[in-house]
């Protein structure tokens, strides 16, 4: 089996889904000849042509709006927002239309749209190129939100996202894009949406993260492992809907939890996870659930970004706190 980067795995998923289903089309800025600024769509233009791999004008709101129209008409558009920091212009289309065409029309119309976007920091990018805004999307009823953490995961989840009959936001941790390689089957497989994944089993503490933060989390778990602490690391995968069962079962077992995300702390997805643990497993908790997150400040430019982003050290400290509460 070939070892692929996440960029290659996503590319493969796109290629195979386009081969399988002629209604799958790709659109966005620079997705054509250029193959995407991260090369995620490389080769698709050559293989499928201009009609199915379309460079668009620089219009985030219309990229999403037009994709909604395509989806409603019967296509399966996979639209790209070049960086997560440029999605705000498309919020009206996402919140006011994509997420609610099905319910507004009581099922007459629906919107099988995938919106891919690289997200997160750590690659020394300019302003707005390093944000982690999943909470805005998770708070929007009617959207599904997925964040793969590894190449294998990315391929399997994207296949499910494309085949899903509802809008899926597919958040790609750009820091992972080329950071790790993994065996990724050429053959078709899919990973169902809505399910989290236990990466390492353990009984002492549950650590929940997703996307690029999984790497820091695993590193922290390994460091703690050297000290005899057995962490149960959960890759959230599906940010909306949430997989309460996996999370709650784990916390009931370990009685301690740490949540790790890049986004600002206040009203981040971490808060929701704490709230659910509080609701469903309060009496099991031996310590307050800890959140290791970005600060409630603007994500800084590269010279300060390493201070902003959670890292293994900060995760270890939080694990220590829940263990020694």
């Amino acid at each position: 089996m070939a070892k692929l980067t996440m960029v290659e795995a996503i590319n493969l998923a796109l290629k195979q889904e386009m081969e399988r289903d002629p209604s799958v089309v790709v659109l966005g800025e620079d997705v054509g000849k250029n193959g995407g600024v991260f090369r995620v769509t490389q080769g698709l233009y050559e293989q499928f042509g201009d009609a199915r791999v379309a460079d668009t004008p620089l219009s985030e709101s219309a990229i999403v709006g037009v994709a909604i129209g395509m989806a409603v008409y019967g296509l399966r558009p996979v639209a790209e927002i070049q960086f997560e920091g440029f999605i705000y212009a498309a919020m009206e289309q996402l919140i006011s239309h994509a997420s609610r065409i099905r319910t507004r029309s009581r099922g007459r119309y629906y919107c099988p749209l995938v919106l891919r976007m690289p997200y997160g920091g750590g690659i020394r990018a300019p302003e707005h190129h390093s944000e982690s805004n999943e909470a805005l999307l998770v708070h929007t009823p009617g959207l599904k939100v997925v964040a793969p953490s590894t190449p294998y995961e990315a391929k399997g989840l994207l296949v499910s996202a494309i085949r899903d009959p509802d809008p899926v936001i597919f958040m790609e941790p750009k820091r992972v894009y080329r950071a790790i390689k993994e065996e990724v089957p050429e053959e078709e497989y899919s990973i169902p949406l809505g399910q989290s994944r236990i990466v390492t089993e353990g009984r002492d503490v549950t650590v929940i993260s997703w996307g690029a933060m999984l790497q820091a989390t695993l590193k922290a778990a390994a460091l703690m492992g050297e000290r005899g602490i057995r962490s149960e690391v959960i890759d959230l995968r599906s940010l909306s809907p949430l997989d309460d069962e996996t999370i709650i079962e784990s916390v009931k077992k370990t009685r301690r939890a740490v949540i790790v995300h890049e986004a600002p702390r206040t009203c981040g997805l971490g808060a929701e996870l704490v709230a659910r643990i509080n609701e469903k497993a309060l009496l099991y908790l031996e310590a307050p659930v800890e959140r290791v997150t970005g600060f409630d400040t603007v994500m800084p430019l590269p010279k300060l970004e390493q201070h902003y982003l959670p890292n293994a050290e900060r995760v270890v400290e939080a694990m220590d706190r829940v263990l020694n509460f």
Binding site: G69, V72, A89, P165, D166
Partner: protein
């Protein structure tokens, strides 16, 4: 070395039937007598439905309602150019166009009564539900047109919008996409001079809305929006051009919002009755009536028949609508996704009283 003109543009104005019912037969679209009567009948039906809706709202039997009074020609003339296979994207003030499209009148009332089932467009009818956030359906319409083009479907998409909508970014982005990809879509702008209390002069400094098409490299035309022939003529040309690969068109129908913005508005706060009076003389139904009378297509007996039939249709719709049982609160949950997620199932069960409470 040059300071020279490199581009020139014209904006045209089309009127076929003036406010006295005089018709330029050369410009008149080749409609049969039956079709002309049909246009008239649709306009009458639209107006009677509109009057009834307004009354129902005042009686507390309908929610906020947006009247189309005065805009019947713009709506009926344009929708009349569409085939059932074409797609139609209304804004929120298109009861007249929806009537032509054949949307059950009951559903129009149901929507304004605050019931999502009014937007459950019948299978096979290619109408989008009403869009409330102004202008945001424009890129969606462009996207549907793009999909149609990709699939090789020989159809046109018509998107309705108001003068206010031309100020929204989505208007710009949607029309720009339509231009770049030469999409089969017609943007039908009803310039009724007002966006709630904001007059056209506060919406744009451009003399016409039609000229905004120049920015996107396709044609815009301004028509007398109270002249159903002119509207039909322009729409029909544009729709045909769209279907045959000629790309998009922007049509500005110059008309007037005769009523308040909605039943929640009081236009006397911001405009003078005299201005409205001026436009009463330009009534779209009156002028067609005059023309038809002169052509022998209209007489009192016909008028009675037409209005009686329209009244009957509307009354039936009201009765039907009011007989519909209230929506099932479970519908809130059911249609969020194709399948109820565990999360929503939980919330619905909680709502239904899973822990002993019954709410239904």
């Amino acid at each position: 070395m040059p300071k020279r003109t490199i581009q020139s543009f014209q904006v045209e104005w089309l009127q076929v039937l003036d406010e006295h019912g005089n018709c330029d037969e050369e410009l008149r679209p080749p409609l049969s007598d039956k079709e002309i009567q049909k246009l008239y009948e649709y306009m009458v039906l639209a107006r009677i439905l509109d009057e009834k809706s307004f009354k129902l709202q005042r009686e507390g039997r309908l929610g906020t309602y947006a009247s189309i009074l005065g805009q019947e020609a713009a709506q009926v003339g344009s929708a009349f150019a569409l085939q059932p296979s074409d797609w139609m994207f209304p804004s929120f003030r298109e009861a007249g166009a929806s009537v032509v499209r054949g949307l059950p009148l009951r559903m129009i009332l149901q929507y304004w009564s605050g019931d999502e089932r009014g937007s459950q467009i019948p299978e096979g009818q290619n109408d989008f539900p009403i869009t409330i956030p102004v202008g945001t359906h424009i890129p969606i319409a462009a996207g549907a047109a793009w999909a149609a083009k990709m699939k090789g479907d020989n159809i046109a998409v018509m998107a309705y919008l108001g003068d206010g909508a031309t100020s929204k970014g989505d208007f710009h982005e949607g029309l720009n996409f339509a231009g770049v990809f030469s999409l089969p879509v017609v943007f039908l702008c009803q310039n009724n001079q007002w966006a709630i209390s904001v007059p056209l002069s506060r919406q744009t400094r451009s003399k016409t809305l039609a000229q905004k098409a120049i920015a996107y490299g396709f044609d815009g035309i301004q028509v007398d929006g109270n002249d159903v022939f002119a509207v039909y003529q322009a729409a029909n040309e544009a729709v045909k051009r769209a279907r045959s690969g000629g790309g998009p068109t922007l049509i500005e129908c110059v008309t007037y919002r005769m009523g308040d913005h909605t039943t929640a508005d009081d236009a006397s706060r911001y405009r003078k009755e005299e201005d409205v009076q001026e436009w009463r003389k330009k009534d779209p139904i009156d002028r067609l009536k005059k023309y038809m009378a002169a052509r022998g297509l209209w007489d009192e007996a016909y008028e009675q028949r037409v209005t009686a039939a329209a009244r009957e249709q509307v009354e039936v719709a009201v009765t039907e609508e009011e007989a519909v049982p209230p929506p099932d609160p479970r519908d809130m949950f059911r249609y969020t996704f194709a399948e109820l997620t565990d999360e929503l199932k939980g919330q619905m069960e909680h709502f239904l009283g899973g822990d002993g409470r019954v709410r239904l």
